[in-house]
Amino acid sequence: MTNLFIAYVAAFFLPLLFHSWRVAVLGLGAQGLLLGLILAAHDQPMSPQLMFEYASLFLIRAVFIPWCLFRWMKGHELPPDFSLIAKNLIQWMIAFLLLVEAFVFGAEMSPGDPHEALQVGTAAGSVLIGMLVLANQTHPLGQIVGLFMVEGGFTLVELLSPHIMPFPVAIGTSLAVVIFVLTCGQYLRRLLAISGSVAEEKIVP
């Protein structure tokens, strides 16, 4: 289980160091996959609700979200120097300190349970790094990646709870995620169209 949390931290932290939107989107897919594996590691008895939760994590978060983002970005080339946070030592230090702070917070919240402390720290780290990305980004794709990083952290907190959501609520939650993804696509296309027209205006004298 510890390895899965380390991998999850890598999935949301490493894309900050790469200057590629594709790595950022793949990072989101990896986070979805790891969330599913973390749920599987809980060894809960199989039930329809649990099956639905697996489907929601593996299909929606690991496959559907990255696939949609790649599809929407087709034909829209981002600046070659695209990065989730500004490329300077101060921003990297802030990201690192936020991560450290998240794990300190996890240890404070669950002093007697190292496993829970690790899970809380990872979730808090994902939320804080997602917020940092949101604070840095002006590009809609970067903002969407930031939003899903924060959402991933929230989902990790959800996995912390032994309480299994009632089936109708689980369906509603997954439906809300799917509609949110599709709505993000609607905004992304429109916002990219605006930035394209602005670029054209700058080119035309």
Binding site: M109, L134, P168
Partner: protein, 482 residues
């Protein structure tokens, strides 16, 4: 059965738009028809409800209690008024763009609001608030330009983050109640939560509570997460601004009421300081923005932040201020609907939102000027409107509760807001018109809903039927007041 119909009717209305004969201009009839039936059904629910009772529906996922009856009636009346306004705009061809998508999204948004109001399960309520946000967000840039699109995107981001924090808050609260170690069966049903003997580990429930209040505060536009609100309200079409500020706002307020009521049954002083701090910060921020605002729609948006702050403050002060809070919330829904709908008439006529460009409105648009003026009086908390009474009850309870420093601070800030708003907006109404020869030209039909809302506001301040007073008293009691 009837409460379930309240949620089904708007969905059926939206589905009707799939039939070709119901599209185009007929969609206006679908909108107003659905909202009328909805209002009648909400009235029937209120009529058939026995005071003090809670009726559970659909495996206890929905409940008809005092809070849901009051808020269902409130949002139904406001939504009906908004649809009357929208139909007028459609009949005068003031509304461009594909009407069906506007009507369908509005109805689906309203359906989610109805379900959120009737909901007895905290996570399900979250789902409905999220779905409502997703339904209405694209309407903010309906037939509008780039800045509206950006404002809408900002609204969506803030809302999703805010609701996400609220969701995590619920999970932390559950974890704190001992569920993680299996002490008792966990539940998010409101009636089930009331049976739990203790809140459990303080670290967890305090974190949960903070996140819940922060999340709902973001959705209400409370400082520090308020920056989406002026942009969204200013850029949105007037009917959508009214839906956001008077319908969705009240659904979120009900979620806050439910959370506060539930937690105060464990400790009456819980989250008082956090709510007071957020309230004071919001009122101060709103006052500063109102002073320098030169856009009347934006000014009303800042006044909305002030209102949200006042409500938070009233909830923080607690005890007997609770009745004042409930009255203020109800009045506030009508005040904002009046002002945003009237703003729509003014912008359609003059083509600008700039205060400095408008003078002598009373001569050119007498009905809109009148409703705007009365709406501003209600906004500023003048007698005889319900907002005045609500504010007075809250202020008097601050004195009774020995919150004297807060009382004096609020009095000063409210005076600043009064002067700044009056100085900006009254010349718009009474000042000298640039063109003295302009003839009054305005159909009263465009102001019917605003006039109806003003009548209700006056009634809330002067006389409310005993059944309505009892209903509000019961909601106040659920907040720990009397």
């Amino acid at each position: 059965m009837i409460p379930a119909l309240c949620a089904i009717v708007p969905i059926l209305g939206a589905l009707l738009l799939l039939i070709p004969q119901c599209r185009g201009r007929a969609s206006a009839a679908v909108l107003i028809g659905s909202s009328f039936v909805e209002t009648v059904l909400a009235g029937t629910v209120a009529w058939s409800w026995t005071p003090g009772s809670s009726e559970y529906l659909l495996d206890r996922y929905f409940v008809v209690d005092a809070s849901s009856v009051l808020f269902l009636g409130l949002i139904s009346i406001v939504f009906f008024g908004i649809t009357v306004y929208v139909c007028h705009r459609l009949s005068t061809r003031l509304m461009p763009g594909p009407i069906e998508s506007f009507v369908a999204r509005s109805l689906l948004f309203f359906a989610t609001c109805v379900m959120a109001v009737l909901c007895n399960h905290l996570q399900a309520m979250w789902v409905f608030l999220e779905l409502g946000t997703l339904a209405i967000a694209p309407l903010i840039f309906y037939a509008r330009g780039t800045s509206a699109l950006k404002a809408s995107w900002k609204y969506l981001q803030f809302s999703v983050i805010g609701l996400g924090f609220n969701f995590v808050g619920l999970l932390c609260l559950a974890r704190g109640m001992g569920g993680a170690h299996g002490e008792h069966e966990l539940t998010f049903f409101l009636d089930g939560l009331q049976q739990i003997p203790t809140l459990g580990e303080p670290m967890w429930w305090k974190l949960g509570l903070t996140l819940m209040v922060f999340g709902l505060g973001t959705k209400l536009g409370l400082a520090p997460m308020y920056s989406w609100l002026p942009d969204a309200y200013d850029e949105a079409p007037p009917s959508i601004a009214a839906m956001l500020s008077a319908v969705q706002f009240n659904c979120v307020i009900l979620a806050l009421f439910r959370a506060v009521g539930l937690l105060r049954s464990f400790d009456p002083e819980l989250i008082s300081n956090e709510l007071i701090a957020m309230g004071l910060l919001s009122i101060s921020v709103a006052a500063l923005h109102i002073i320098k605002s030169n856009n009347y729609k934006r000014l009303i948006a800042y006044a909305s932040i002030n209102h949200a702050g006042t409500i938070a403050l009233g909830l923080g002060v607690g005890k007997n201020a609770a009745y004042g809070v409930v009255l203020y919330v109800v009045s506030n829904a009508f005040v904002k609907a009046v002002l945003f709908l009237t703003c729509g008439n003014i912008t359609a006529h003059f083509g600008t939102n700039q205060i400095s460009a408008l003078r002598g409105m009373i001569r050119v648009m007498p009905f809109s000027a009148l409703t705007f003026m009365l709406g501003i009086f209600a906004l500023l908390g003048f007698a005889p409107f319900g907002s005045f009474l609500g504010e007075v009850i809250m202020l008097s309870n601050m004195v009774e509760g020995r919150y004297l420093a807060i009382f004096f601070f609020i009095c000063i800030v409210l005076t600043v807001i009064l002067v700044a708003t009056g100085r900006s907006l009254f010349p718009m109404i009474w000042g000298e018109a640039p063109d003295e020869t302009a003839q009054p030209h305005e159909p009263i039909w465009s102001n019917v809903s605003s006039l109806l809302f003003i009548l209700i506001l006056v009634s809330l301040g002067i006389y409310t039927p005993a059944s309505v007073t009892n209903l509000m008293n019961e909601v106040a009691a659920s907040l720990g007041g009397r």
